[in-house]
Amino acid sequence: MIEISSLSKVYAEATVVDEVSMVVAGGSITAIVGTSGSGKSTLLRMINRLVEPTRGRVVINGRDAATVPGHLLRREIGYAIQGHGLFPHRTVAENIATVPRLLGWQAARTRARVEELLRIFQLEPAEYGAKFPHQLSGGQQQRVGVARALAAEPRVLLMDEPFGALDPIIRGQAQDDLRDIQRRFGTTVVLVTHDIDEAFRLGDHVGVMSRGRLLQYDRPAMLLTHPADPFVSRLTGTADRALKLLSLTTAAQAMEPGAAAGDGPAVAATDSLRDVLAQLLWSGAAAATVRRPDGSAAGQVTLAGILARGRSD
């Protein structure tokens, strides 16, 4: 858990972060979204004290971050950035081993951890461990960057536009991977992005920042249905907010008993209602059958049920 209270950063004349308070629940993903210059990156960097706060406090898992020397604090907190920042003169394995080495782990433990992470990120250790960053594709470099951030098993992971340099297809895969890995390790993730769709896709909670202030911090659906500020509704977009809302709900949540008629498409319980709606429109059916992984029918999602959930009330 990260408790941020009245955190501010003031440079000479400019207040970059203005009295931000928020609580990030342990084991969740919080996405902070805002335009460039909104202060979101500065807020993130004050959590691991790459930027020293002017005022306010950050308490991470019960300990005031200001009571620990900055570089020691940062060894306990994962940090991944846009453009990965891999060390070009070190191999992939050496890059991932950076923090374990700083912490003085035994060589065998470090090696085992590096191999474990490489496998998790679908990079065969024997093939990729000894390669240099410039020999990898952009998506692979980004994965190594996240693996390096996770190497010392941090309970908190900070990410600054980690997928910003990736093309859309690889980005989607990287976002899914992050979700899986976050669930697997129970890591508390704070992610900064300018992409509202990314924030909605990944964030259990989403914070919206503008001009140094945190305008709203809530569950994604609440940002759509109850925007606290005109800027929030502009950012989330008013034209397609019904569809955005549907994309936040899974088929399982809207499931009704029974099975769709023969021409209805089959969907998975984890599919979003937006995807189910698209399938229904395409097939012309009025209901889709929700199937379990073994193929048996768990229930159905009807067009009427979806439409009811996309309504503004």
Partner: protein, 246 residues
Amino acid sequence: MPRPATLLRLAALALLLAFLIVPQRFAPLFVPFTEYGAPPIYDQGSLPMLALAHLGTVFAATAVSAIVAIGLGILVTRAGGAEFLPLSRTLVNIGQTFPPVAVLAIAVPLVGFGELPTLIALFAYGLLPIFENTLSGLQSCPPAVVEAADGMGMSPRQRLLAVELPLAMPLILEGVRLSLVVNVGTATIGSTVAAKGLGEVIIAGLLSNNTAFILQGGLVTGLMAILLYELMGTVERRILRATHLA
């Protein structure tokens, strides 16, 4: 089959060594440059000893230049040292623009004749390339890489030693190489203040109006500069390969 460039280097090395060890064999080549039966080959001292003394002076001066210039380059790229950048640059620039001969003229009354004034002149002359290259090398480290080093929890010292200096190394070595080679030529002026070196040969030629001596002094110095340039290139490539930068 070695490449032509390698063959050329080996030929240059062989020529230099042959001339230093058995200079008399080359006498017929230099006779046309003498008058009134003057000796065609330098005979007032041992050529190999002069060459070694020459190199020794150059290496010693460049080593001190490198330590000071790299140290200054590191200092002015740290958060606390940035304000010394203009001052350092000015000092180093003066070292380069002030003619080494003038440095000798000033140094001799202070420290006397011999090696020391020459070392001072070469030291000052060699600072600029190393300092500027260290600066460019450290400043051109990708910001994301430096930020990652901080974000991983490296101390400033660890970041410097493990990330910044290795990444700046190609440029720093290039600066050292430049200083070294330039100083091989410049060191000949040391002989005007009684430092041991190949300048003696040239000066002896000037004093006795013997063009053969002047040619020999220039030739040996030039060959050494070229060979040193090539040797440093090889050393650089070895170091970079060992640190995975090439």
